[in-house]
Structure formats: structure tokens, C-alpha cells
């Protein structure tokens, strides 16, 4: 049966070939897709499932200021894998010019860049901008941040700052070093071995 009216309510890729998706099949039912499994729900059942999931999250995530409804749109789905390490949720006001997004130089070398150099696809769809720990790196919502920067680079915006236990999930400020080392790892170890051998 093909329903022409299908709206994807949320989607999360869990692994390269595994994803979780919630679809509203208009007039028919709500489908939860997880890999090859499909669960059909009514709207009432979906709302009930949502409420129960909120209760479970509140019970499991013992972080200061954490409430599932703090997260707008799909943000909660985006950060779901980090939730158990969460210590505190903070609203913070920051200058857009102080933020960095993960870009690339020389095609594939990752670097943190300021928004004036943004070449990512901008989006005017409002999204929550999320930072981790005390870092200025945008972890989610970089497209919307770029859009805001383009409109007014001097402005301040409200971001959601997630503080994790023991500063977990912080990003490397120089990802290019890790990248180059990993990329050249074998070559570097060969050189070191060859050097040691000569001594």
C-alpha cells in the first residue's frame, strides 16, 4: 500500500547501515523504522510513548537543568549518544564572531574556522546551536549560525552549552594534527624505525 502523504518527523543514523526514523503516514498511522523493523502506532500511542520516554530520560539523565523539552526540534536526537555523560545544561549568550565551525582545508584536512570563512550550506531554518563544555566549537546548528552571522556578524546569540563529566566529548582544537598523523601514521613510524635502526 503506498501512501502519498509521508512526512519524516525525525531521523537518526546510528551506524552506516542502521538508522532510526519516525514517519507520519497521513491519515494512516505513525511508523517507527529501525533497520528492517517497522512498528505501526496511532498518534495517541506515539504521544504516550513520547511522555514515557521523557520520564525514562529524566530518570536516567541526572544532569543539572536537564529537561527533554529544553531541546528544540531534533536536537535531543542529535545529542542522544552523549546523554549519559551529561552533567549540566546551560543557556549561554555568546558573540557569533567567537564561535567556530568544523571546516576543511586542502579538500579533506579538518580545521576549526570562524564563521566569516563559512562555506557550509546556510540555512534560515531555526535550529538550536549547541556547544560542548567550555569550547567555542559549534557541535550542532552550524548552518543556522552561519546564516545569522551573514545577517549580523557583530550580534550575540543564545546557545545551549552542554557540560559533560570530566570534560568528556571535548573536541581537539587542532584536528588537523590528528588527521595528518593518522593519515601518515605508517609512514612516520617507518621513518622512526628506520632512524632508530641506524643508531
Amino acid at each position: 500500500m503506498s501512501n502519498p502523504g509521508v512526512l519524516t518527523l525525525t531521523e537518526k543514523r546510528i551506524a552506516p547501515n542502521k538508522s532510526f526514523r519516525v514517519e507520519d503516514n497521513l491519515g494512516e498511522s505513525i511508523h517507527l523504522h529501525y533497520n528492517d523493523i517497522r512498528v505501526d502506532l496511532t498518534i495517541k500511542e506515539l504521544l504516550y510513548l513520547g511522555k514515557e520516554s521523557d520520564k525514562i530520560l529524566m530518570d536516567r539523565v541526572k544532569a543539572k537543568n536537564f529537561r527533554p523539552d529544553v531541546f528544540e526540534g531534533n536536537s535531543l536526537v542529535d545529542i542522544s549518544e552523549y546523554l549519559l555523560d551529561l552533567e549540566e545544561v546551560r543557556y549561554d549568550e555568546v558573540f557569533l564572531s567567537s564561535l567556530r565551525y568544523k571546516g576543511k582545508i586542502l579538500i579533506c584536512v579538518p580545521v576549526w574556522r570562524d564563521l566569516s570563512k563559512s562555506n557550509i550550506v546556510m540555512s534560515d531554518v531555526k535550529r538550536q546551536i549547541i556547544l560542548f563544555n567550555d569550547q567555542p566549537y559549534i557541535r550542532f546548528g552550524a548552518e543556522y549560525a552561519s546564516f545569522l552571522y551573514r545577517n549580523d556578524p557583530e550580534s550575540k546569540i543564545q546557545v545551549l552549552r552542554l557540560i559533560f563529566k570530566e570534560n568528556k566529548h571535548s573536541e581537539d582544537p587542532t584536528p588537523w594534527k590528528t588527521f595528518l598523523f593518522r593519515w601518515n601514521g605508517k609512514r612516520i613510524s617507518d621513518i622512526v624505525k628506520s632512524f632508530l635502526h641506524r643508531i
Binding site: M1, S2, N3, P4, V6, L7, L26, G27, E28, S29
Partner: protein
């Protein structure tokens, strides 16, 4: 080339088809995908040129791509499945197999339209799906046709077919069309939550 001329040529050729609708200057027909080669040979013989319409469209469930030919006046729109636009990327999606299978064997003739047309219930499903999903409004010619066809329809048969397209909204959409509340159908559909 007029609509009547084109229909006569298609009938003379022995092609199995049905007229879906005729929004000026388009004549939209449904053709059995098995007759694709026969049809293309006919179109080539008359020298009708294929337009770019439908070339960049997306199609779901492996349906054959639609085609449009300019017959020096009327644009002949060729569909190989009764379909409408999906909410997913506006791709063309076929209506349920039960509606599509045998649709060309259930055709009939009516005074308003030259050539064979779909059965009453298939026509209502097609026009309702087209209005809600493809056009996103009930155009005046479609409203007039829907009113006429609803008077001719078998209630149970119609309900069974509409359930394949509008599911639990079927009862409400049929009633709203009968009551002529076309303006309110789409907003009511988007707000509908009884499923």
C-alpha cells in the same frame, strides 16, 4: 491538432487508454505501460515532438516516467500509472495497486469527455489525490467533475477505494466533497489526527 483528433488517432490505432483530465491546453491520458513502444511508434509517425516536461522529475516505486508531446496545439500528457505527487521530494507515487490494476479494463464513456475515462470510483480517487497532493487545491473543473461523479458513485465501492489513498480520512473527505466544502478539505486533512 484538437483533443478529438488525437483521441480518434489513439482509438484508430487500437491503443488501450483512458482520458484522465483535460486542463487546457493539456490532454492527460493513462496508457498501459506494455503499450509504450506502440505509442512511441505512433507519436513518431505523426512527428510530434517530446517536450522537456517530466524529464527531471522523481518517480517512486519504479513507475515508468511520464512523457509529454507537443501535437502542435494540444500537449499530450502520457501517464503510465494513476499517480500523484508524494510529500517526499514531490516525487510521483502510484496510487494503490488495487486502483491501478485493471483500471484500463474498467473504462467507460461519458458525455462530458471525449474518449474512454476511468470508472466512477477510480476517477474520484484520481481527482481527489491530484487535488490534495499534486495541485494542493481543488481546481474549478475538477470540483465540477467530482460533483457529477459523486452523484454516480456506489457508496461502499467508493469508500473501499478511497481508503487506499486517504485511509481514515476517507469518510470525511467524501462527505466534504459531497457537501461542496472543497476549500476546507486540505486544511482539515493536515489537521486530521484520528489515526
Amino acid at each position: 491538432m484538437t483533443v478529438n483528433d488525437i483521441i480518434k488517432k489513439l482509438e484508430d490505432e487500437g491503443l488501450v487508454f483512458a482520458v484522465l483530465d483535460m486542463p487546457d491546453p493539456v490532454l492527460r491520458i493513462l496508457v498501459d505501460p506494455k503499450d509504450r513502444n506502440k505509442l512511441q511508434e505512433l507519436l513518431g509517425r505523426y512527428g510530434w515532438k517530446r517536450t522537456k516536461t517530466y524529464d527531471d522529475e522523481k518517480y517512486l516505486y519504479g513507475i515508468e516516467h511520464f512523457m509529454q508531446y507537443d501535437t502542435n496545439g494540444v500537449k499530450l500528457d502520457i501517464n503510465f500509472r494513476i499517480a500523484c505527487r508524494s510529500t517526499l521530494n514531490s516525487a510521483w507515487v502510484p496510487l494503490d495497486m488495487i486502483i491501478n490494476e485493471g483500471a484500463l479494463q474498467r473504462t467507460r464513456k461519458i458525455n462530458e469527455i471525449p474518449g474512454p475515462v476511468l470508472s466512477v470510483e477510480d476517477t474520484i480517487c484520481y481527482l481527489a489525490a491530484k487535488s490534495v497532493y499534486t495541485e494542493k487545491e481543488f481546481l474549478k473543473p475538477d470540483r465540477l467533475r467530482l460533483k457529477k461523479e459523486l452523484d454516480r458513485s456506489d457508496e461502499q465501492l467508493l469508500m473501499n477505494k478511497m481508503k487506499l489513498v486517504f485511509f481514515k480520512f476517507s469518510g470525511q473527505i467524501i462527505q466534504m466533497m459531497k457537501d461542496g466544502e472543497f476549500e476546507d478539505i486540505i486544511p482539515s486533512f493536515w489537521k486530521f489526527a484520528e489515526y
